[in-house]
């Protein structure tokens, strides 16, 4: 059984690199399996421990994740590394369980409109899938962490504004279903820090001992500010991707996840030790640049480097 408290301990911040899955969801060129493995290992060497390693969605539609089992194995071979795989249905969950990945994630859309348009099912059906995931977890030998994320939780590209009470209702449904961790995602980067802080506070309150993960996109430049607000309101798990990799189908030209290396800087500046070496992390961008030369990479730390005082302190 994967111990949630061991992976996501109370009171310390865990940063998750989601570039290997969310970051690759929409890219035109895909890194080779070997490059993905180097990416993961080099970030591990920089101190990163949690990696979204890919998805068990149909390889026909998402060929970039056809090697997900190799990446699961790469993470599994590194002491203390933790892999997370996305699944959206029972077939995917069973494949994920068979792979031995220690965390299985699924998604519930915050709005009925987006659920139907994106996943061709109702939100109730998505919740039923989460419940089934928990049953399959309980019946498995290794009992991976089950994580359910509410997508479009801070604004929906189809329905527009989202009622936070509705998001909290869905969080409750996921908790009732038996999940080990809950995510709230600003999938299309609609929100500012006030909305993110308020929703985080409400989610943390209702989740009690169950960890809340806040997954932010930097679509409108609010990513780091939103992460700061989430931390202020008690979130201790945050997602990001190296170089802010990963666009958005609903906002052409929009950037992807929060820039991972800037997120590390934010956390350290707020007094949360991450165990991650920013300069080593920034150096990993060279893999992305050579494998995906046409994908824009973002980030302040990569441009400007660490402040000289911090560099002096580290030296």
């Amino acid at each position: 059984m994967t111990d949630v408290q061991k992976i996501y301990p109370d009171g310390r911040v865990t940063l998750r690199e989601v570039g290997l899955r969310d970051g690759l969801q929409l890219v035109k060129t895909v890194p080779s399996t070997q490059a993905k493995q180097r990416w993961l290992r080099d970030e591990y060497a920089a101190g990163v421990r949690c990696f979204e390693v890919g998805s068990f969605l149909p390889a026909k539609t998402f060929p970039q994740f056809v090697d997900v089992r190799d990446i699961v194995a790469t993470a599994a071979a590194l002491p203390g590394a933790h892999g997370i795989a996305l699944t959206l249905n029972e077939r995917g969950v069973n494949e994920a369980l068979a792979s031995g990945v220690p965390e299985i994630a699924s998604v519930v859309s915050a709005t009925e409109e987006h659920s139907q348009a994106n996943a061709h099912r109702s939100r109730d059906s998505a919740i039923a899938n989460v419940k089934r995931m928990c049953e399959l977890r309980d019946a498995s030998a290794h009992k991976p962490i089950v994580h359910a994320a509410i997508s479009m939780a801070l604004g929906c590209s189809i329905a527009g504004a989202v009622d936070p009470n509705e998001v909290i209702r869905l969080v409750e449904k996921c908790l009732e279903a038996g999940v080990d961790a809950v995510g709230i995602a600003d999938t299309v980067g609609y929100a500012g820090p006030k909305a993110v802080g308020d929703l985080t506070k409400a989610a943390v309150k209702i989740a009690g001992k169950t960890p809340i993960c806040v997954h932010l996109h930097d679509t409108r430049g609010m990513g780091i500010a939103n992460a700061a607000a989430a931390l202020d309101e008690g979130a201790r798990i945050l997602d990001g991707s190296l170089g802010g990799l990963g666009g958005c189908p609903f906002a052409p030209g929009a950037t992807g996840n929060v820039v991972f290396e800037d997120l590390v800087f934010l956390c350290e500046s707020k007094g949360f030790a991450t165990g991650i070496d920013i300069e080593k992390l920034v150096a990993v961008r060279s893999i992305l640049r050579s494998e995906m030369p046409n994908e824009p990479l973002y980030g302040g730390l990569a441009r400007a480097g660490l402040p000289c005082a911090t560099a002096a302190k580290a030296a």
Copy 2:
């Protein structure tokens, strides 16, 4: 006499476009006077009211501001528009007074090292200059606002870490000298939101009725998060530049000021009405692109547009 409360009223947020001065401090190509005037007028039409219009530094060293009087006049011709000009010595102050610009700004370095290296004078001498500015203001007919900004207030490219108590001491000196407004500037974008919030809080407390302006650079991607923290701690005047124009000589490749249009979005998302139309503002970037094709422009709103709900509400 320029009424500080009319320009910077208590309890509402004032956003200042500093691109026409700070943004142009280091660019390789400079917009024509006509282009600067269109830039200012088009932003005015989008709802912007406060503009740093240039500097009265020697035109030999800073030829990009040789037309500062034209830009002062452009702002003066627009009802409710407010121009601000940078000066660093008595000659500059006298020229600024003669131009009729309604706000004159000067800078005091937070560290002795930076003051000597950058302005070739001690901090005491910089404070004496601020005092002289106030005397010249009092002796003038139109009595412009005198604004003193503490540069490197959140980290120094030469001295490294900066003691916040030292910054507050300098703020006090400026208040004693008789300034109408005080600025604290993260000139090289060293800080995270915790440090910005803490310093803002202390400065707002000591300044009492005197408005505090927070001037942030996005060097390490923290600009918007830092602006959010400054707002949370009571700052009501924030600087930014369209497209984040403006680099930093101490950090090659580093971006400049906080992206103005993203700053507007941040404020609105936090419930602070700015009176600025983001889409109109973003459209002004075309002037910068055509005048300075080699200067990178940044910003989330320009890439992704407004969220659909906001657009629907505005329509």
